[in-house]
């Protein structure tokens, strides 16, 4: 029996209502959404390039390149983009992750178009002056060192590097320190020339503007940029994992940590929708299964969570737990397996399924009030929901149109089947973070953060 009404389509229309999509002749995709409730405009440009596109020995280039786009072009000197942002009362930043790099501005509606001017210019005219490159290299290395000091980052990096043997998800977005040190301005310029083109980019505008007035301006600024070479599709496939992998990271830390990662589907695969539900059932809120088991019942952890994010290629569904002193990593690991076992034997109740569906639906509304958040969501899916397996009605930002419907269709038996199929010992990588002087008998590795690398 349903105790609450089924999820409605309110949140999907809330996000995609009024969205228009165009493509310029040179291939640039432009997504606009007018919102006249607040006098602000968020603009964000996405490039379909991230650490996924890098090569061994040159890791971290996508993120480093993101930094360089603030360090001077033929028209904007170093610091000038920030100064224009300051003087116009705006904000800007950028972020890079596995599959993408994105740059955003938020401005009041009466002066936001400076953002278009900057993005159109720096798509092809970044300078890469050697002195700027060398000084920014130090900044990026300092950013990397913050990660080295973070226990979760240390463990996460090791688990992903262990789980992915061939696929570039093997290395962290910020790259390996030695690769950064070896990077040259010429390498960076070549990488920029390869990926920063209209046909590999999506411009998203959300806020208080008139689309018909803005499009001629977009056309004038971006329309003359050459299309660029079509990027060859990547053919990098992680082979099926045949047997559990374990890794141990030693670090001077007062609390031990655990990450367990399972190879999981890419965005748009049929099973991906159920994985999102499973993530919610396991770890959203105090009534979630992991909280009830590990925090309330066993009282063995300070926190525990499950994570599954949409990526272009198959990635990891992973668990992370921070242990209370006096509890054993092996026992917490075992408790997580028992909860997975229980999901197979006692599929979630109707109420539990409805709760999780509701949580996902409400989150789309509650997390996306701001124009910038909406622009990020629209641009992200336009950039990563590209596989041919996605039907036209769910491809690109339209992914958001059908997301709730697809999640709503997942049944409890499907969830149980997913656990049985994916959460096997052969498919997992286990990471333990232990104290420097500890001597774990047989132990493993890490946690992955969803943390984007911001500039």
């Amino acid at each position: 029996m349903l105790t609450t009404s089924p999820p409605t389509t309110d949140s999907q229309s809330f996000l995609t209502r009024g969205v228009q999509k165009r493509q310029l002749a040179n291939g640039l995709t432009v997504i606009t959404k007018e919102r006249h409730d607040k006098p602000v405009v968020a603009s964000i440009i996405w490039y379909r390039v991230g650490s996924r596109n890098e090569e061994l020995g040159q890791t971290g280039k996508s993120h480093f390149l993101e930094h360089m786009l603030f360090k001077g072009t033929d028209r904007f000197q170093k610091g000038e983009i920030d100064l224009l942002t300051l003087q116009n009362g705006g904000a800007n930043n950028a972020f890079t992750w596995l599959d993408f790099t994105a740059y955003y501005f938020t401005f009041a509606a009466d002066r936001w178009q400076v953002a278009l001017d900057i993005e159109a210019n720096r798509m092809r005219h970044t300078s890469f002056a050697p002195e700027e490159f060398n000084s920014e290299k130090q900044v990026v290395e300092e950013e990397l060192r913050i990660g080295l000091d973070g226990p979760w980052e240390a463990l996460e990096n090791e688990v992903w590097a262990t789980a992915f043997r061939q696929h570039p998800y093997h290395w962290p977005t910020v790259g390996w320190l030695d690769d950064l040190e070896a990077a040259t301005a010429a390498d960076m310029k070549a990488y920029y020339d390869k990926w920063y083109h209209p046909q590999n980019a999506t411009l998203v505008l959300v806020g208080d503007f008139n689309t018909d007035e803005v499009m001629p301006k977009v056309e004038a600024l971006f329309g003359t940029i050459p299309t660029g070479l079509e990027a060859r599709p990547l053919h990098i496939i992680e082979p099926v994992q045949k047997g559990e992998k374990r890794v141990v990271v030693k670090k001077e830390t007062p609390v031990e940590r655990l990450i367990i990662g399972y190879h999981a589907p890419a965005i748009g695969e049929d099973d991906a929708y159920g994985m999102h539900l499973l993530e919610t059932i396991l770890s959203t809120g105090k009534t979630s299964r992991l909280y009830q088991r590990l925090v309330e019942q066993d009282q063995s952890v300070t926190s525990a969570a499950a994570h599954y994010h949409d990526h272009i290629d198959a990635s990891l569904f992973y668990f992370q737990a921070e242990l209370k002193p006096g509890f054993a990593l092996a026992a917490v690991e075992q408790a997580i397996y028992e909860e997975l076992e229980r999901l197979q034997n006692e599929p979630p109740s109707e109420a539990e399924m409805n709760k999780a569906k509701r949580q996902i639906e409400a989150d789309l509304v509650l997390s996306n009030e701001e124009p910038l958040q909406q622009a990020i969501l629209l641009g992200q899916y336009e950039t990563i929901a590209v596989a041919q397996r996605l039907p036209e009605a769910s491809r690109g930002y339209h992914y958001l149109d059908t997301l709730l419907e697809r999640i709503g269709a997942v049944k409890a038996v499907d969830v149980a089947r997913l656990v049985r199929q994916y959460f096997t010992s052969d498919n997992r990588t286990v990471g333990y973070l232990v104290k420097e002087n500890a001597n774990p008998a047989s132990e493993a590795t890490s946690t992955g953060g969803a943390a984007d690398e911001q500039r």
Partner: protein, 441 residues
């Protein structure tokens, strides 16, 4: 494009929202603002209490009271509370900070009455079940340990212990392992009964609702809450700013040194707050890396990913802190320390330029609109407007106050509120107690 001159001084984008304020007979202040763009409502129920009202032996008490308020009431178990919230996909948390405690929720519009009901329940009827106290104390003890994993927090805690010595702000709100052990159920219940009273509480509701209906609900649900006529908040004696330089070096096996330099700051009600906001924007808080500290230490010298300064960010009911922060490689320690100290001294001793003041004013007035993007932000503003007596015409008075700041004014407040000869410096990282870098193999 030339950016030598700010764009004339852009006007502040027009923002407007209606606010209805009323006080219930029991003293509860209700602040309502409708916004129908998103089918959601934010609830902020704020009681003016926190760790500033606990003593050293009870450190951690207020924040645990905050955490435990939704772990059981006279009408619901923790599981029923969480179950009701999560079944509708809402967000709800209770908390105890330094100066405010209470509950914050975000509900889809059609679930607002449930949200109000639960908010009232945790404010009025919390029971502090013994098993939940044990659970939270155990978890808290581990969280206190894990703070040592974040060198920036470790440095910040050590910095507070020095500059706020003798004042409640010297403690981390999370408490200490030793004081946690002392806290008993009676302590939680007493603190809750003493401070969580309607005439010490503000309730802000912002979002997609009809004011008349919500007023009726609030009067019915919160009207039962009994006024405490003899309630008086304790007085917190102010702390004095140090008069001499202090240094503390703490060894930790890390890749970076984390540095805090600064001293006591200002109260939010200080009339110089606005001139100091302009100073902050020029010295170390700006979008990107335009202000002096990030521009010079990061963008020009490449010393750090993260470096900044501010004095207004921590201004509250009590004086906050002036801080300059940097996280950098141990090799850069000397250059980073001297760079931060040089920029602080230069700000205190030399006038800023007209261009800097104009750019900062353009930024602060132009960016103001972004403080009012979400229901939660507006609810938070309504509470602050009440606590700091900003007036609901603040949307107009703020830009006026910022525009009124002059070069001379910035020079005066910088000289008065910055003390380059009496700075506290805390360094956490691979250093010995004298500040020598210990080379790591």
């Amino acid at each position: 494009m030339s950016s030598d001159k700010p764009n004339a001084m852009p006007t502040t984008a027009h923002i407007h929202f209606d606010v209805e304020r009323l006080e219930l007979p029991n003293g509860l202040v209700l602040l309502l603002s409708e916004n129908h763009h998103t089918p959601a409502v934010s609830i902020n129920a704020i009681t003016l209490t926190g760790s500033r009202f606990e003593n050293d032996e009870q450190a951690g008490l207020a924040s645990l009271v905050g955490e435990l308020m939704d772990e059981g009431t006279t009408t619901r178990t923790w599981k029923q509370l969480a179950g009701a919230v999560e079944a509708v996909g809402a967000r709800f948390r209770t908390f105890g900070d330094y100066q405010v405690s209470g509950a914050q929720g975000a509900f889809l519009a059609h679930d607002l009455s449930l949200g109000l009901d639960i908010t009232a329940d945790v404010l009025m009827n919390a029971t502090f079940p013994e098993d939940q106290i044990q659970l939270h104390k155990g978890r808290r003890a581990a969280q206190i340990k894990s703070r040592l994993d974040v060198p920036r927090i470790q440095a910040s805690d050590a910095f507070n212990e020095l500059i706020f010595a003798g004042h409640p702000q010297h403690r981390p709100a999370i408490g200490y392992e030793a004081t946690l052990a002392n806290l008993q159920r009676q302590d939680f219940a007493d603190f809750y009964r003493r401070y969580f009273v309607p005439n010490n509480t503000l309730l802000a509701i912002v979002g997609d609702f009809a004011t008349a209906e919500v007023k009726r609900w609030v009067e019915e649900i919160f009207g039962r809450w009994e006024r405490q006529d003899n309630f008086q908040p304790p007085l917190i004696p102010p702390v004095k700013r140090q008069t001499e330089a202090l240094e503390k070096f703490i060894n930790a096996p890390k890749e970076q040194v984390n540095i805090f330099i600064g001293h006591l700051g200002i109260e939010r009600k200080n009339p110089d707050y606005y001139a100091l906001l302009v100073m902050d924007t020029i010295l170390g808080s700006s979008p990107g890396f335009t202000s002096r500290i990030p521009r010079i230490l990061r963008d020009e010298q490449g010393l750090a990913y993260s470096t900044y300064s501010n004095i207004t960010a921590s201004a509250g009911l009590d004086a906050g802190r002036f801080i300059a922060y940097i996280g950098t490689s141990p090799d850069n320690l000397e250059q980073a320390l001297s760079g931060l100290r040089r920029e602080i001294a230069r700000m205190a001793q030399e006038p800023v330029t007209a261009h800097e003041v104009e750019s900062a004013q353009a930024y602060l007035t132009g960016n103001f609109v972004f403080d009012f993007q979400t229901n939660a932000q507006i609810a938070e503003f309504l509470i602050e407007a009440e606590v700091y007596e900003l007036g609901f015409d603040y949307l107009q008075t703020y830009p006026e106050r910022i525009r009124a700041v002059t070069i001379a004014e910035v020079a005066r407040v910088a000289a008065h509120y910055l003390a380059p000869d009496a700075l506290t410096t805390v360094v956490v990282g691979p250093v010995d107690e004298l500040g020598n870098v210990i080379s790591q193999t």
